[in-house]
């Protein structure tokens, strides 16, 4: 039982990171209807940048914060290329993000080389009823909770957030009331970049990242996001947690090399079960 709880705790922490990546997918998809396949790159860039900044003597928190902001900026830049030109179809934009994601490998290798990179997170352990948890896990869970609450407040209670939601609800009407839908799309890409970046700086101390780690991160995040039809951040959080815990249990009881595969099969099962009840990515507003 103790072992189980320990695996579950680490799974919840990685699951939180997946959920953050997933929310990035959702934020971008809701506003632009683009599945951003460069989503994993944000996490990798932020993780590596934080590593470099820490190496240069920049203190913790500031280094991570800068890395997250930088990932947000990269998000806006990717958004500019993907949706900046008027009339680009979401499918074309998707391919552009896929291309940019793969193209980024060259840049990443040039700057950081091809070896995995990691840095120390929060040191120390927390003992709860005989279950030892790394403090880093606790930090990840707390920060994810904060991020989700902040996002909820932003989308529901700020005018900009309502404007973003309006673009998702009815793009035509949004344009009619004078909302610049493309600019809102860029805001969403920035937000998605920041969320991916946050996942990256939290994940890197737990599992080292290399230039091509984005695929694994993006697939897990996407699986979590599709759990909520790519539209609901709350369900994406549940998806992330399910996926994270499943992976940790498989790695713990069976074999680490099986973890992503088994987790994705579980996800696939859930999706097939869901698809039997309703279309997975149906537009809620089209009815």
């Amino acid at each position: 039982m103790r072992l189980f709880l320990q695996y579950a705790a680490s799974g919840i922490a990685t699951g939180c990171a997946f959920a953050l990546v997933a929310t990035g997918f959702v934020a971008i998809y809701r506003v632009t209807r683009v599945v951003n396949f460069a989503q994993g790159v944000f996490a990798v860039i932020a993780g590596m940048l934080a590593y470099t900044l820490l190496g240069q003597g920049v203190p913790h928190v500031l280094a991570e914060l800068l890395a997250v902001v930088a990932a947000g900026v990269v998000g806006v830049l990717i958004g500019l290329v993907a949706i900046g030109r008027r009339g680009t179809s979401p499918l074309a934009s998707l391919i552009i993000t896929l291309g940019l994601g793969i193209g980024s490998y060259a840049v990443l290798i040039l700057i950081w080389g091809d070896q995995p990179i990691s840095f120390d997170g929060f040191k120390g352990n927390l003992d709860v009823g005989g279950v030892t948890m790394q403090l880093q896990y606790v930090l990840v869970v707390l920060l994810t909770a904060v991020a989700f609450v902040a996002l909820g407040l932003f989308f529901d209670h700020t005018y900009l957030g309502r404007g973003l939601t309006a673009c998702s609800s009815n793009p035509r009407a949004a344009r009619l009331v004078g909302i610049d839908v493309t600019r809102m799309g860029l805001v969403a890409f920035g937000l998605g970049g920041g969320l991916g970046g946050l996942a990256g700086v939290l994940l890197t101390p737990m599992q080292p990242v290399s230039f091509n780690s984005d695929v694994g991160i993006a697939i897990s995040g996407f699986a979590a996001a599709i759990f909520g039809g790519l539209l609901r951040p709350g369900t994406a959080l549940v998806g992330g947690l399910v996926l994270g815990v499943a992976e940790a249990l498989v790695a713990g009881y069976a074999q680490a090399s099986l973890q992503s595969g088994v987790a994705l099969v579980i996800m696939l099962g859930i999706m097939i079960w869901q698809a039997g009840r309703r279309p997975i990515t149906a537009d809620e507003d089209s009815a």
Binding site: R162, S169, N170
Partner: protein, 222 residues
């Protein structure tokens, strides 16, 4: 207020508007009638900046806001959010005056717009457009899908806004009888061109309009 000159708008190879000229004076209420696909919505969307003309010009003094065909609300957002988003381009976002105009909306302000009745949704659509404090209100199909009594009520609101606040209105309507009753002046748009224009009384009495839009033959039978 609004001066449209020789406006041409194309969708790819198809010409939707083919040299349309039309004007709306300050504080005037003008109707635009015509069959489906004549280009009425295209004209409104061009005036509102959603479409780019291939050639021709339009001059607009002041702000314009549109009540679109089919209402186009933010269905899963609250009534109040819908109204407040109407003020996206200006500073004053207080929906108070929309509630003064449509008191029933005050009770419904927390409801999701998509769950309202057709008439209530049209109130929200008109209220949302008014939130932008427009000098010209363009209304695309006010009566579509609504019960006659609801239409009358909304129409009276438009007339009052025009009379009391001096807001110019350009009304596109399938229901030509209603449009000609409400607006002193009208244009008839057919196949992307202005076929007829003049005072509504004149138009209502012209045989062409009577036959095509007012169901004159039917009237005689009845």
């Amino acid at each position: 207020m609004l001066e449209v000159q020789q406006l041409v708008v194309r969708y790819g190879a198809a010409t939707a508007l083919d040299g349309v000229s039309l004007r709306v004076e300050r504080g005037e209420m003008v109707a635009l009638i015509g069959p489906n696909g004549a280009g009425k919505s295209t004209l409104l969307n061009t005036i509102c900046g959603l479409l780019k003309p291939a050639s021709g010009t339009f001059r607009l003094t002041g702000r314009v806001a549109q009540v679109p065909e089919g209402r186009q609300l933010f269905a899963e957002m609250s009534v109040e959010d819908n109204l407040r988003l109407g003020a996206w381009t200006i500073r004053d976002r207080d929906p108070g005056h929309a509630y003064t105009l449509f008191p029933p909306l005050l009770q419904l302000r927390r409801r999701r717009a998509g769950t309202l009745s057709g008439g209530e949704q049209q109130m929200v659509a008109v209220g949302r457009a008014l939130m932008a404090q427009p000098d010209l209100l363009v209304v695309d199909e006010l009566s579509l899908g609504l019960a006659p009594m609801v239409v009358d009520d909304l129409a009276q609101h438009l007339v009052r806004l025009n009379r009391d606040k001096g807001m110019a209105v350009l009304l596109v309507e399938q229901n030509a009888r209603l449009a000609l009753e409400l607006c002193p002046r009208a244009y008839v748009l057919e196949a992307g061109r202005i076929a007829l224009s003049g005072s509504s009384t004149e138009l209502a009495n012209s045989p062409a309009v009577r036959a095509a839009y007012l169901g004159a033959a039917m009237d005689e039978v009845v």
